[in-house]
Symmetry: C2
Subunit: 551 residues, 2 copies
Amino acid sequence: MRRIHMKKKTIVVVGGVAGGMSFANRYRRLNIDDEIIVFEKGPFVSFANCGLPYHISGEIKSRQSLLVVKEELLQKRFNLNVRSNSEVISINPEQKKIQYRSNQEIFEQSYDELVISTGAKPIVPTIEGLDRIPFFTLRNIPDLDKIMLQIKNHHPKHVSILGAGFIGLELAENLKMRGIEVALIEKSSDVLPVLDPEVSIHAKNALIQNGIDVYTNNEIVKIDPNTLYLKSGQEVKTDFLIISIGVAPDTTLLKNIGANLGMKGGIIVDHNYQTSIPHIYAVGDAIIVKNQISNQDTLIPLASPANRQGRQLADILSGLNVYNKGSIGTSIVKVFDMSFASTGLTEKQLTKGTYHVIHLLANDHASYYPGATSIHLKVIFDKMSHQILGAQAFGQKGVDKRIDIISTAIKAKLTITDLQELEFTYAPPYSSAKDIVNLAGYVGQNIILGISQSVQWYDVEMLKNEGYLFIDVRSFIEREGFGYIEGSMHIDIDELYLRYQEIPKDKKLVVYCQSGTRSYNAERFLRAKGFEVYNLDGSYSVYDQISKEIK
Amino acid sequence: MRRIHMKKKTIVVVGGVAGGMSFANRYRRLNIDDEIIVFEKGPFVSFANCGLPYHISGEIKSRQSLLVVKEELLQKRFNLNVRSNSEVISINPEQKKIQYRSNQEIFEQSYDELVISTGAKPIVPTIEGLDRIPFFTLRNIPDLDKIMLQIKNHHPKHVSILGAGFIGLELAENLKMRGIEVALIEKSSDVLPVLDPEVSIHAKNALIQNGIDVYTNNEIVKIDPNTLYLKSGQEVKTDFLIISIGVAPDTTLLKNIGANLGMKGGIIVDHNYQTSIPHIYAVGDAIIVKNQISNQDTLIPLASPANRQGRQLADILSGLNVYNKGSIGTSIVKVFDMSFASTGLTEKQLTKGTYHVIHLLANDHASYYPGATSIHLKVIFDKMSHQILGAQAFGQKGVDKRIDIISTAIKAKLTITDLQELEFTYAPPYSSAKDIVNLAGYVGQNIILGISQSVQWYDVEMLKNEGYLFIDVRSFIEREGFGYIEGSMHIDIDELYLRYQEIPKDKKLVVYCQSGTRSYNAERFLRAKGFEVYNLDGSYSVYDQISKEIK
């Protein structure tokens, strides 16, 4: 591919980091002679925003290592004109010019094409007395510097975090690792509210087990110096506050010139990342994208999509046949020694009755090889098309791998039964001959064909009320050790062939074990013996924690 | 799904472990009342064959843990009639009966359907003097017991392994970890000969670095007590020998009744796993499968496909609409702290000129987060369809994840450019915002569109002879530290804008750096300046080791 410009173009990029720098680097490779100017209002045009929380604990020791690429290198290697500490303050789309402020002075710069990569900014709520406590957000290096300085100068014993999303949890872990006590306050009933509750409850428990005070279903209603007053009536004595309740697209520049904005002020762009205004394009956290599964508008403020969008826009502006296909949203967060990950849609985002759910519990690698740990996997698929809609997983190891595989399967529009056919690297240190992702395919096939009929953890109370008899087919030791569903009858799976006639013939049954495998065997047997029987999906391992939480 | 038999059927399974036991368990779940009889000539019907080498070092401490499911449990929980130490010696397909030997006596058993899951047996070559040394193979628990007993009774200081495939390498590592010196002898020029040489050379180096004596391009021509005489003229003093040169389908039973056999004596089955003889089916290592990419016959003696096949045959014999779609072959092996993995086809299996190759080097996770290690990834895609044909990778961490993702992409028939769109779990401990799999998509797009034109490590000598000028764009420190391609000109990428006019205008160029990224920038720049220029794919990181090997 070789492209000949009639004249040298000037490309102006507003905002560096993921979207802006990906654009600039790619555009340079495709257009050696054009002028590329990157304006960044902060001091750093390229830094590792996802690494910021880890510098607080010292896990990432050097602040310097968070500065991904130095300006000098960008200039020398990519011939980019990088202007940090230069805030673009207005756009004149008719004259194709922008105004920017640098060193207190106002300058102008004309453009042929303008790329908006302004990202998103932390939301700060209105709280009575917020001015009475030091409070911070964490989005960039200056934010980090302020927090580090506060810690250095004031040696806080206790810090509170408002908002238990990804950043909030990473902050909690890293503050705690630094020896600071942490309170985590969240409005929703769950930490990680983007996940489904039977998954996120385990993140909450991991936080609590690691000494974080978690206040869900809560809000800060008033602040006095060193005291937060919560909606629940509780008081939290604290030294300072970090607010991490989410981000909002930073789109003032475009709003001021009447560009089309959508949900939460996000920028509406077409397939070519073009805004409603000619010669102005946008990428990154500030734009609205299509969720590829639901086909609905969404904001996905994550680094990977921003990188891809920046590169694609460079391709588009260089005349390549590329377009914005949207995103499915894949994410992960480390919570001490656990990982929580998600791809695609959750049950929260779906309409009951349109999908099936599978919960699985298996080891990350062969159980007989040392160091095996549990993976909990939830997969959701469409009742009609059988396409995979989403998956969530948690565990100590191998969580990222399984979600990445399923994310790939979703992107490729595979069905749940296609997961049976996938062939993974198998040796005892890495996985099992039947990996948990294969098992999801097997269970999916059983559900589709009616070989197994499952009910979910949230159906349990209703079914008990309707008179269903629950049968626990675990061993006596497991039942006593882990606890059980109240009112359930106990028949060890290995005694079922002998004892099934003890089960009342007139009862509808729900069988359960610890993970759902033995109860599936029991289900098959009891159905063959003429019972109406359902398998409790995920069984006691799913029911256990969440049932205690909702009580 | 409910299926009503007119009469109770008798299903006879010959051979347990992966294929046979998967079949039996699944068939039982679908058919509660049929009789299922599993004959196993050895003492154990279900054991972890992939775990055997790890018991030698004590990495897997307990022999007991290698016995996956006990017979008693199979009887109680699945109502399986398991007959271990019972060797089936003949089949009478007309009368639908088999003969078997148990406790020195011969018995008969009739069947309605017969499932052959006899697997494969280790190949033992003819070597002069093989009777003069204790030698072993490793395929099952009795084999392992013999090796363990030999070690216990004779305290060997040195063991030799013939055959450097997966088992050979696992044996070498585990014997070494036990404190025994190891010689590894391989006929091919590479260890792990199923991989391409620029990948497997790193396995060889890992073995050597860990103290294994590796003899490639070699054979044992004669054996005296405690001495192996090699083709190379070298002599290896050793205490005993383990032979791991591969396996052959164990298909005598079917051969004797004239069933259709194919390559290497493997069983020919149809889409329903049916052999050429009515009511006789086969699964596992003994059958020939279609490679789903090349559509050619192949033998894939791996646990995962065997498990899947067993389950699918149970579905088929239960009337479900399932069929054998073939396999692509995905595998991994641990070599001390390194992992080597592969999926799909290698260059060795392909016809030059029909495909493109990409070599990449990137970190398993964000470089600024502690503990990042390198992943080397090779991806091969079709020149016309752009479909991914295969991938190989090695490194310390995250190798299994990347190959599993690409294996999923191959199964879903994704093209190389589709890899750009995949959305992975990203946080600094897990991956990079642009994961190496995404990068493969980016590079693939560049190659397809001609944005980058690459040459391979095996082209270097030819291109040098044809007068191409090689330009090394790394830093001076890298060039001196890592070495360089002889005769190459050195211009640091960061000086290229200033110094490119030093390059002779009449020369065709090949640019290289350490991994191929900076040289790609140089390629784009130099092409824009009018040079005919190619990028050395994978650059010095690929060229380095293999060029020393082939000299």
